[in-house]
Symmetry: C2
Subunit: 150 residues, 2 copies
């Protein structure tokens, strides 16, 4: 997926760089590393998972920086932040996702079932418009129990 700006198509990298410039922020090694890792992934994961992935590749970034950078990525629009459970946020790259999709979240075992339902999502977009509400997550969450945890 490519993101558009002023009608032009931009890659995820370009989008983020443009965002940094606009905010007078700098592109650092750490931010590059995190952006790359996110762009290459198409799963949800928590900050801790990301940290481990990076460590495994020998790329050392502090926990604080991961949190701070993820917030920037979300703010710039290349990553979405999703509330998937008790007390943790998950992040998901928008780079590889073809479509909006939503989640059924098992509150017991944490299993996440993705689904897409165009009609529902279109309706949801309309509801947001009616309420002058701007979706950030581009998806919705339903909490409950998966088949194993019922």
């Amino acid at each position: 997926m490519r993101l558009s700006l002023h009608g032009k198509q931009m890659t995820v990298d370009q989008t983020f760089e443009y965002y940094l410039k606009r905010k007078s922020l700098k592109m650092t090694q750490e931010r590059k590393v995190i952006l790359d890792e996110m762009s290459g992934s198409d799963r949800h994961f928590g900050p801790e998972d990301l940290l481990i992935q990076l460590r495994e590749k020998g790329k050392r970034v502090s926990r604080a920086t991961v949190y701070r950078t993820l917030d920037l990525l979300v703010d710039s629009g290349v990553v979405k932040k999703v509330c998937l459970g008790p007390q943790q946020f998950y992040y998901e790259s928008l780079a590889k996702k073809e479509q909006r999709h939503s989640h059924l979240v098992c509150v017991k075992c944490g299993k996440i079932i993705e689904f897409s339902d165009q009609a529902t999502e279109e309706r949801l977009v309309r509801i947001c418009q009616e309420n002058q509400f701007e979706m950030t997550s581009r998806c919705f969450q339903v909490f409950g129990f998966c088949s194993k945890c019922k």
Copy 2:
């Protein structure tokens, strides 16, 4: 709203009492107090809010007991637990709600806009069935920015 069991209608109190009996648990003063407070409310609130409400009425219950009892109320089905934001759960009594309803949650200021959309909710129920998923919250959440925080 009344809850049904074996085709019979039960009040919230009866439902909870029956639940306790089934689980060999006891109806204590603290549980009564919390149940009453929940039944009388039709707003979402966090455990901390509940604690303050109770204190204001001179009813002293410990934080731990509030958490423990809310879990029981959820498990018994008279209260629903909703993930509405950063790192806090909210609870909502099912006693006064006529219908299922869902939430638009502002991730900046915490404002919560409730909405109902029957078609969407029916679709959602079907999606859950297809995935053998049992909704606990009876609603879904959409995260984003309200009109003031855009």
